[in-house]
């Protein structure tokens, strides 16, 4: 349970060496009966302690696969993983399953989308937390582990944790189960928390509570967080930096402000345009991005977003690379052939409103 020097909060890009988590050119493919599915195609990012990185995209954009691959959960005989994932400089993709088990839970914890089904129904909540603790340190006896479990449940805001620790998951509400999942994730004081759509299955007030809990933990413990979501409202609430994914590729990458106030990729405009804005008059119908996400078995030639993009032109039949197109902001990357000035005009579908097309 000790905090090793390299996982302690350090200033970004400081003297401590590289970033806490560095993902380079990560590619994940699955062999299926219909051919190879390239679920993730060349993802790069870094994560510093205390930072919240959001990965946004529609279903099938590769965001969950990216996250699960970080701790090797997508390893299987039919998967093919390339690229590099380094935690505090240590390469994870080449580790054996047994070595990775030591990383999972203790250094990188993960919580999942549906708290209803993510806990084993036949064991008490306490038992499942104790199991996580003792899996990594068998010298902790049951009584101490139970004490820790009670403490953790209290820390994530479960009332009367001394009693609730003996409850089964079905005796918890959805929000409490997600809190318990977070408690389980925090049990070994990991340096990275991966939250895969942690609020999708919850109602709105509970969503806000869970997000604030994650944000608090992120600040108070310097916990680096990867937040996977399709909900830009959630992103706006907690993220520092944002990765927008489409068809297995990152299409735009920047700070929260970059993405919300100066979005460069038409797909990002579409996502922003389809948000309900409470601070602006409502159009008759909420805009949508027409069409459906592409099949990963058969991606369109050139830019993957081309068939759904109203601003498509000749150049789009070539694959654009992820690059900085703004001189003043070299860390804001996007994957679009349009010229920066042109983009500023096109995305302004209404005064004060960014979108893909004019709302109907």
């Amino acid at each position: 349970m000790s905090v090793t020097p390299e996982t302690a909060p350090a200033p970004a890009g400081g003297a401590g060496g590289g970033p806490l988590l560095a993902v380079e050119n990560l590619r994940v493919g699955f062999a299926t009966e219909d051919g190879r599915v390239q679920a993730v195609d060349g993802v790069n990012f870094t994560l510093e302690p205390g930072e919240v990185l959001a990965i946004v995209g529609e279903s099938g954009s590769g965001k969950s696969v990216t996250a699960q691959t970080l701790i090797g959960l997508t390893r299987s005989p039919n998967s093919h993983i390339e690229g590099s994932v380094r935690l505090s400089g240590e390469e994870l993709t080449t580790k054996s399953e047994r070595e990775l088990q030591k990383v999972r839970g203790s250094k990188i914890a993960m919580i999942f989308q549906d708290p209803m089904t993510s806990m084993n129904p036949v064991y008490t909540v306490g038992k499942q937390i104790i199991e996580a603790i003792r899996a990594h340190d068998s010298s902790v006896n049951r009584r101490d582990a139970r004490g820790q479990a009670v403490e953790l449940l209290g820390a994530v805001g479960i009332p009367d944790p001394e009693r609730r620790v003996n409850d089964y998951p079905h005796e918890f509400s959805g929000g409490m189960r997600q809190r318990a999942m977070i408690a389980m994730g925090l049990a070994l004081e990991p340096s990275v928390l991966i939250a895969d759509e942690p609020t999708t299955a919850l109602d709105v007030t509970i969503q806000a509570q869970i997000l604030h809990l994650i944000q608090d933990l992120n600040r108070s413990r310097g916990l680096a967080t990867i937040l996977i979501t399709h909900d830009l409202g959630v992103v706006a609430e907690v993220a520092d930096r944002v990765l927008v994914m489409y068809g297995g590729k990152v299409v735009e990458q920047g700070t929260l402000d970059d993405i919300f106030y100066d979005p460069q990729h038409p797909y990002t405009w579409g996502l922003l345009g389809s948000l309900t804005r409470l601070d602006q008059p409502r159009p008759h119908r909420l805009p949508q991005i027409s069409g459906a996400p592409p099949s990963l078995l058969n991606l369109p030639k050139g830019c993957a977003f081309r068939p759904r993009c109203p601003h498509e032109f000749g150049k789009c039949s070539e694959v654009p690379s992820l690059a900085a197109h703004l001189l003043e902001d070299p860390k804001h990357l996007d994957r679009c052939w349009l010229d920066a000035e042109k983009k500023r005009q096109l995305r302004q579908v209404e005064p004060n409103r960014i979108g893909l097309e004019e709302p109907v």
Partner: protein
């Protein structure tokens, strides 16, 4: 928990009552011939038939007949006229140790092998071990008990005198007891072991896709712990269901072929005798006896569910 068990038990008693009525109707009301004559046997004198009619209440109304006959069977006063005037209940009671020895031993073997093969087959799904086990299981399922028993008897007791040919030795001599029972145990267990391994394999493969299994892996648990504590534990419900039914049938006298071929004079052996002689009182008693065990083990299974899945324990209102 207690309320749950009590309600299940009351249900079980109701089911048993219904079965006894049904058995009574099938054996006494539906056939067109004189039931007393059938009970009295082939060479019965008119006087004997008259006595039987008196004893089994055939000269009274149907509810009274039912009452008289159940009283005979349940108080242990029913006599078989076709089978050397034995007391039916006493014959069944004498058969219980032999049937129980056979069934409990076989059950231990088939559960151990069924779960072991199902488990290794599931964790190596698609691989060589899985295919090998699948073939073995299918061979086991496909071998009829009478054929396997005949092969065993011919090769292992006659050609090579490895085991005693037949009979039963009481548990007071454990070595001989086991020696006499090994072949019948294996014969009875082979089919079930094969079948259970297939059921467990598919149940485990289903559970492996559950979200909580992914959570368990994400916690950093070892592969073995994930498989045993999370996957296997949650895959046992179909196995428990099957076991309750199968074991109830066998201990209630269902191992007719095995008991007959190996000369184990248990309940199943007696059932075969009763069927051969068409001795209706015996058949009726054995049927009710068998039904009792099936209902009993189903009740035990229901209670076991509550232990296996805590979500059921609280469902007392639904029980």
């Amino acid at each position: 928990m207690l309320r749950f068990a009590v309600r299940r038990l009351i249900g079980a008693i109701a089911v048993l009552f219904a079965i006894s009525v049904l058995v009574f109707l099938i054996f006494n009301v539906v056939p067109a011939t004189n039931p007393a004559a059938r009970i009295a046997g082939k060479n019965a004198t008119p006087q004997l038939i008259k006595n039987v009619e008196e004893e089994w209440g055939f000269n009274k109304s149907l509810p009274e007949q039912y009452w008289t006959q159940m009283k005979l069977i349940f108080t242990g006063k029913a006599t078989s006229y076709s089978l050397a005037h034995i007391n039916i209940d006493q014959r069944i009671l004498e058969g219980i140790p032999q049937t129980a020895s056979l069934c409990i031993g076989a059950a231990i073997i088939w559960l151990a092998f069924g779960i072991f093969f199902g488990y290794i087959s599931a964790i190596r799904a698609g691989g060589f071990v899985d295919r090998f086990v699948t073939v073995i299981a299918l061979i086991g399922i496909s071998m009829p008990v009478f054929w396997l028993a005949s092969i065993f008897l011919y090769y292992l007791t006659y050609k090579v005198e490895l085991f005693p040919a037949s009979g039963y030795v009481s548990l007071s001599n454990p070595a001989e007891w086991a020696k006499h029972l090994i072949l019948p145990w294996v014969c009875l267990a082979v089919l079930f072991a094969g079948f259970y391994s297939r059921v467990l394999r598919s149940s485990m493969l289903d559970v492996m896709n559950e979200d909580y299994v992914r959570t368990a892996r994400a916690k950093g648990l070892s592969q073995r712990r994930v498989m045993v504590r999370h996957v296997l534990r949650n895959s046992l419900i179909p196995i428990v269901t099957l076991f309750g039914l199968d074991f109830g049938v066998l201990i209630g006298g269902g191992a007719i072929v095995t008991e007959s071929l190996f000369q184990i004079e248990g309940v199943g052996y007696f059932t075969a005798e009763a069927l051969n002689q068409q001795d209706f009182p015996s058949i009726m008693a054995v049927t009710i006896f068998g039904a009792f065990f099936i209902v009993l083990f189903n009740t035990i299974v229901d209670i076991a569910y509550a232990y296996l899945d805590p979500r059921i324990r609280l469902g007392t209102s639904a029980a």
